[in-house]
Amino acid sequence: MTETPPSSEAYEARIAALEAKLAALEASVGDATARVEWDWKGWAERYGLILAWIAIILVLGAFKPVQMFAWNSYASMLGSNAMVVVLTLALIIPLTTGDFDLSVASVMGLSSMLIAVLNVKLGYPIGSAILIALLAGAVVGAVNAFFILYFGVFSLIVTLGTGYFVNGLILWVSNSGTIAGVSMDLVRAVILTRFLGIPVGFYYALILTGVIWYVFQFTALGRRMLFVGRGREVARLSGVNVTRVRAGALIASSVMAAFAGVLYTGMRGVADPSSALAFLLPAFAAAFLGSTAIYPGRFNAPGAFLAVFVLSTGVMGLNFLGVDSFVQNLFYGGGLVVAVAISQLIRGRKPMDG
C-alpha cells in the first residue's frame, strides 16, 4: 500500500486500459471463431465435392484410362449436359424461396416441342419460335404461382399436377410424334460451334451459373430470397413482399426451364414428346448434391454446376465400363438420396426448411 490513492482520472485511465484489453481479447476470440470456419473441416465441406470428382475420375480411369483421360470425352460431356445445368439452376431458384417445382422437366419438353412445331410445321422463324417457347414457360410459371400463392396449395402438389398437364399439352401439339428438321441456325448456335473443343451450349450454362451466383450471393434480392425460404414470417415482418418474391422465383424457374428446352432442341435438331422428362431426377440430384458444396447448407449455383458434372462424369465412366444403362438410374436416384442425407448432416439434422 505504498501508492497514493489514485485520482478519478487515473481510475478512468485504468478502466479505459482494461476495456481496451477486453476489446482486444474479444477481437482475438472473434478472429479465432471466424478462423475455425476456415480450418480443414469447413474447407473440406466446401470443396469436398471437387475432391470427390477427382476421385471418381481416378478410380474409373484406372479401369478405362484411354477414354477417361481423354479431353474429348470431357468436352462432349460438358457440352451435352448444358441443359441439365440450366434445368438445375431453374430448380434452385424456387428451392431457395422454399417452393418445389416438379414441373421444370415438363416445361423443358414443352419448350422443345413448341420450337419444333412452330419452326418445322408452321414455318415460324427460329427466333420467334424460341421467344414463344420462353413465353410459354412464363405462363406455366404464372399458373404455378397462382395456385400456390392464391389458393395456398403446397407447391409439390401444384407443380406435380401442372407438370402432368403440360405433358398432355406436349403430346397434343406433337400428335405424339417426334419432329425433326429444326433450323440448323439453332443447332449451330448450341452444339456445332465449339470453343476450346467444347460446344458453346456449355458456355451459355456457365454464364447463367455466373448470373445466378451473383444474384444469390451479391444482391439484396438474392439474400431476401433466402430469408423468404428460411423464415417466411421473418421476411414478411421485415417488409419483404413474400408473395411477389415467391411468384417471381416460380416464374423465373419456368422461363429458365424453357431455356433448357431451347438448348435441348439445339443439341439434337429434333424434339420428341417424352425424353425431356427423364431429366427431372438428375436435376434434383444435382441441386441437392450442389447444396452440400461451395456454400454448404444453401442451394447455390456453383455447387449445382459442379454437381451436374460430378454426376455425369460418374455416369460417363460407368458407360465406358460397359455397364448397362439402368446403372444411370441407380446412380442418379442413389445420388439424390445420398446428397439429401449429407445436406441434412450439414444442417445438423434439423428438419429441412427449403
Binding site: E26, G30, F227
Partner: protein
C-alpha cells in the same frame, strides 16, 4: 399397501392431494421454495399468483415434467407418490390435466378427440365407430352438453372446445380409476378461461361442479380473482415461489386476494418514475379494432415510452403487430407525424416506409432466422444501402453488422455466426440493432426482454432510452411489470380488449401496475 385412515366418502372429508415441502431450483433461481398444498376430496381448489410466482412450475412437477428437489413429498389419497412423478403413469395415479392450449386436434371429430388416448395406444383392429359415437353421446348427455359426436372439433366454438377438453380429462380419469372408484382423482385446469366469453365461463363452471359432485377434486389455476372467488371452495396463493396463504374463498374479499397476490411491502423499491415529456403527440391511433381488441384510441408523444399490459387474454399483446399491419382484420386509423393511414390498408412495407419498426416476441420464429448469420439478420432491412461496386458482399455485410453489434454490445460480436448460436439476450441485442439502424419514428416491441439476462436487459433498456431521447415514440407490450415500471413514461392497462386504466408518474410502480391488472377485471365486468 397401507390403507389410509381418512377414506370417508363425504365430499368434504379427507385429503385427495397432499403436497409437502415442494422446492424446485432452476440454476440460481428458486422457482418453488418449500411449498405445501392440500386439496380435499370433492373440492375445487384455486391456485393463484402472478407471472413467475411458481404456479406453472408446481403444475409441471405434478405432471411429471420437473423433478422436485429432495425432501418433497406428494400424496394422493394418503398414498405416497414416487418422485419425480412418472409422466407416463400420471393418469393411472389419478391426475389429469387440461392446459390452456387444450390439446385438441381441430381436423378430427369430437368422438376421435374424446377417445384419442385409447385410439392412439389401443390395439383395436376393428374400431366400431357407431358404438364409439354412441358412447360419446352418452357421456355428453350425462353432462348435459350440446356436443355432436360426429362434428369436427375445428367447427366448435372456443367454449365448446374447452368443455370437450375438460370432459375428456374427466373421462380419462374416471377410466383410469375405475378399479378404485373411492379415489376418483384430481383434475387440474390450467388457466382454461382467459379466452372465453362470460357466458362460456359459467357453462364451464357448471361442468366443473358436475365433476366434483362425483367426488373428484379440481385444481383451478387462474389469474382472475373473480373467477376464483366464484368457483373455488378454497384457494392457495403463491408469490415468488413461496406459499403465501391458503384461504377459504367464501370469507376472503377481492381486495384480500389481490393483496396476497401482489404483496404490499415493496412499494418504495422503484422511485425512478419517469416524467412524461411535454411534447406534441407523434402517433395518434383512433378507432383501433381487431380480433379481441378495441375499439380504442390513444396517442404517443415524441420521445415517449408507452407500455401496454394486462392479464392473459386482455388483448394488449396484439397491439404491436396490429399497428404494424402484420395482422388481418384490423380497422381504425393511425397517424404518424400527422400523416394518417387506415389500418386495414397498412402492410409491413408500408409501415416501414412510414418509419414504423416492429420487433416480435418470437425471437427465432418471427424476428430473426436462426440458421442464417447474425450479419444477414442485422443487415437485412438495409441491404440496398450496403451494396458496393461489386454488389452486396459478405465482407460489407459483416463489417456493417460488426459495427452495429459493437455499439449494441452483442457478444460474441462475430457476424458470421448463425443467429441461433447467440444467447437470448445477445440475439435480442442484435435484432434490436437491426431495427434501430432504420431510425424508426415509432418502435413497436413485444416482450423485448423475455428470456434475456439481467445485464443484457439493462443494455436494451438503455438503447430504448436513447432512441426515445432521439425523438422516437416507443410502444412496449409486456407482462413484466417491473420492466414497465422502470422503463415507461406511461402504462395502459388492458382488460377484455379495452383500455381499463392509464398510469403515469408516481403510479408507475410494479405493484400499482399489477394491482390495476388484477382489479381491472371487476371494473370492466
Amino acid at each position: 399397501m397401507i390403507q389410509p385412515a381418512q377414506t370417508g366418502l363425504a365430499p368434504d372429508g379427507g385429503e385427495a392431494l397432499g403436497i409437502e415441502n415442494l422446492s424446485k431450483q432452476f440454476g440460481g433461481a428458486r422457482a418453488l421454495d418449500g411449498v405445501s398444498l392440500h386439496v380435499r376430496r370433492g373440492e375445487v381448489h384455486g391456485l393463484l399468483g402472478s407471472n413467475g410466482s411458481g404456479k406453472s412450475t408446481l403444475i409441471k412437477v405434478l405432471a411429471g415434467f420437473h423433478t422436485p428437489e429432495p425432501g418433497a413429498e406428494i400424496r394422493l389419497y394418503g398414498r405416497k407418490v414416487p418422485l419425480p412423478i412418472p409422466g407416463a403413469e400420471v393418469r393411472a395415479l389419478g391426475l389429469a390435466f387440461v392446459h390452456q392450449h387444450l390439446g385438441l386436434i381441430p381436423s378430427l371429430s369430437v368422438t376421435e378427440n374424446l377417445y384419442i388416448g385409447q385410439l392412439a395406444t389401443g390395439q383395436d383392429w376393428a374400431i366400431n365407430w357407431a358404438d364409439l359415437h354412441r358412447r360419446a353421446a352418452e357421456v355428453f348427455a350425462r353432462f348435459d352438453l350440446p356436443l355432436v359426436p360426429q362434428a369436427p372439433v375445428g367447427s366448435l366454438s372456443a367454449v365448446q372446445q374447452a368443455l370437450l377438453a375438460i370432459v375428456r380429462a374427466y373421462e380419462d380419469l374416471r377410466h383410469a380409476t375405475q378399479d378404485h372408484a373411492d379415489r376418483p382423482g384430481v383434475l387440474v385446469l390450467d388457466e382454461p378461461t382467459p379466452f372465453l366469453p362470460r357466458a362460456g365461463v359459467e357453462q364451464l363452471f357448471r361442468l366443473v361442479r358436475q365433476c366434483t359432485a362425483t367426488g373428484a377434486s379440481v385444481i383451478f389455476v387462474s389469474h382472475d380473482v373473480d373467477e376464483v372467488r366464484e368457483i373455488t371452495d378454497r384457494a392457495t396463493i403463491l408469490r415468488d415461489g413461496h406459499l403465501i396463504d391458503t384461504v377459504e374463498t367464501a370469507t376472503t374479499s377481492h381486495d384480500a386476494f389481490v393483496e396476497r397476490i401482489i404483496g404490499t411491502s415493496m412499494a418504495a423499491y422503484h422511485g425512478a418514475a419517469k416524467v412524461l415529456p411535454a411534447r406534441p403527440p407523434l402517433v395518434e391511433v383512433s378507432d383501433l379494432a381487431g380480433p379481441g381488441v378495441g375499439p380504442l384510441d390513444f396517442e404517443i408523444a415524441e420521445g415517449e415510452i408507452l407500455g401496454v399490459t394486462g392479464l392473459i387474454g386482455s388483448g394488449f399483446d396484439n397491439l404491436p403487430a396490429m399497428l404494424y399491419g402484420g395482422r388481418d382484420g384490423v380497422t381504425g386509423r393511425i397517424a404518424i407525424g400527422g400523416r394518417g393511414i387506415r389500418l386495414n390498408a397498412l402492410t409491413p412495407p408500408e409501415a416501414m416506409a412510414r418509419g414504423v419498426a416492429y420487433l416480435p416476441a418470437d425471437r427465432l420464429g418471427q424476428a430473426g432466422v436462426g440458421s442464417l448469420s447474425v450479419g444477414d439478420n442485422v443487415a437485412m432491412p438495409v441491404y440496398p444501402r450496403l451494396a458496393g461496386a461489386l454488389g452486396l458482399t459478405d465482407r460489407r455485410v459483416a463489417a456493417h453488422a460488426g459495427r452495429l453489434g459493437a455499439e449494441a454490445g452483442v457478444k460474441p460480436n462475430v457476424p458470421a455466426l448463425p443467429l441461433s448460436a447467440l444467447s437470448g439476450g445477445n440475439a435480442q441485442k442484435a435484432l434490436m440493432a437491426k431495427w434501430l439502424q432504420t431510425a424508426p419514428r415509432l418502435l413497436l416491441l413485444d416482450e423485448p426482454t423475455q428470456g434475456v439476462d439481467v445485464g443484457a436487459r439493462q443494455q436494451i433498456w438503455e438503447a430504448l432510452d436513447r432512441t426515445a431521447e432521439g425523438g422516437a415514440a416507443i410502444l412496449i407490450a409486456s407482462t413484466d411489470y417491473d420492466q414497465l415500471a422502470q422503463l415507461c413514461h406511461r402504462v395502459l392497462i388492458f382488460s377484455r380488449g379495452r383500455i381499463a386504466a392509464g398510469l403515469t408518474g408516481a403510479q408507475l410502480t410494479k405493484d400499482t401496475i399489477a394491482e390495476h391488472c388484477y382489479r381491472s377485471m371487476t371494473r370492466i365486468a
